[in-house]
């Protein structure tokens, strides 16, 4: 993946000292970067420190950026390298591939299907309650709350794919996992978030 025109323009603006361009880039990536760094660091505050260092490293080396990778890939490469060396110092490294494999149980409770595999208890509609139709802000808040309940690896892959819009091969390279790992993690994550929203709209809605 090479540098897009938009990335190139953004880098030129940062080089010219455009503070808004730099802070815009920060707000786009910061939250996901903290998530990634937390894989390697013992606490959120250490992870945030590594992310701050990453931004400074990016500024200090911006003239040497050759544009062979996308800007995003470059940022995350700096981040992961720094996180790993920091994590080693703190003796915490949990490579994603070294963790227990995901289970392969179904993403939807099998008791919701009849013996022939058709729905016995079909998905509930969200927001048909006339007194309170679901709105985008509510759904967004529920999706974020549900993502916070996911197991770490699922939350990480879903955050990178769906929130940050990264392509799967980029995610695999970044986290050092196989395409199949990424596929399974994303599948389980999205299904679980949908299940949690369904629970919410079923009655727990408060």
């Amino acid at each position: 993946m090479s540098l897009s025109a938009a990335d190139r323009a953004l880098i030129d603006r940062i080089k010219a000292g455009d503070e808004a361009a730099f802070l815009g880039l920060v707000s786009l990536h910061q939250a996901a970067m903290v998530r990634v760094a937390m894989r390697y660091c013992r606490s959120r505050s250490v992870a945030e420190e590594v992310v701050q260092e990453t931004w400074m490293a990016l500024l200090d080396s911006i003239d040497r950026f050759d544009g062979r990778a996308s800007l995003k890939t470059w940022i995350y490469r700096i981040l992961v390298n720094r996180s790993i060396s920091r994590g080693k110092r703190e003796r915490r490294t949990v490579p994603l591939s070294g963790l227990a494999p995901e289970g392969d149980d179904p993403v939807v409770d099998p008791s919701r299907f009849a013996a022939d595999g058709s729905w016995a208890e079909p998905p509930l509609s969200w927001g048909t309650r006339p007194d309170r139709p679901a709105d985008d802000a509510e759904i967004r808040a529920q999706v974020m709350a549900a993502m916070a309940k996911l197991p770490e690896r699922q939350a990480l892959v879903m955050a990178l794919r769906d929130v940050q819009g990264m392509e799967t091969p980029e995610i695999c390279e970044l986290l050092d996992i196989t395409e199949n790992n990424a596929r399974v993690l994303l599948h389980r994550a999205r299904a679980k978030v949908r299940n949690l929203l369904e629970d919410y709209y079923r009655g727990g809605r408060s």
Binding site: G17, A31, V51, M56, L59, V108, P123, M144, M147, R194
Partner: protein
């Protein structure tokens, strides 16, 4: 073979991500046309995906202020050098 509804829930992510084989994708599309429950399930997954895409959290104000200060230092150094 036409997938069952239970199978449809397991095929969803590959389908949405464009990784289903062509014959599988065609069967899924057909199933979705005929089955309102699975259509709803797939639509809800899409709702989740779209909501997540707009759910990027903002960095904490302290972090932004710290970076703003460091950016100004960096800029000043560049202009001097």
């Amino acid at each position: 073979m036409n997938p069952t509804c239970a199978e449809m829930t397991e095929l969803a992510t590959d389908y949405v991500e464009g990784r289903s084989r062509l014959t599988t994708a065609a069967m899924i599309k057909l199933h979705l046309m005929l089955c309102e429950h699975c259509s709803r399930y797939y639509a809800q997954l899409e709702t989740v995906r779209v909501a997540a895409a707009s759910a990027a959290e903002d960095p904490s104000p302290e972090n932004v202020e710290a970076l703003r200060a460091r950016f100004r230092e960096w800029k000043a150094r560049r202009e001097d050098g």
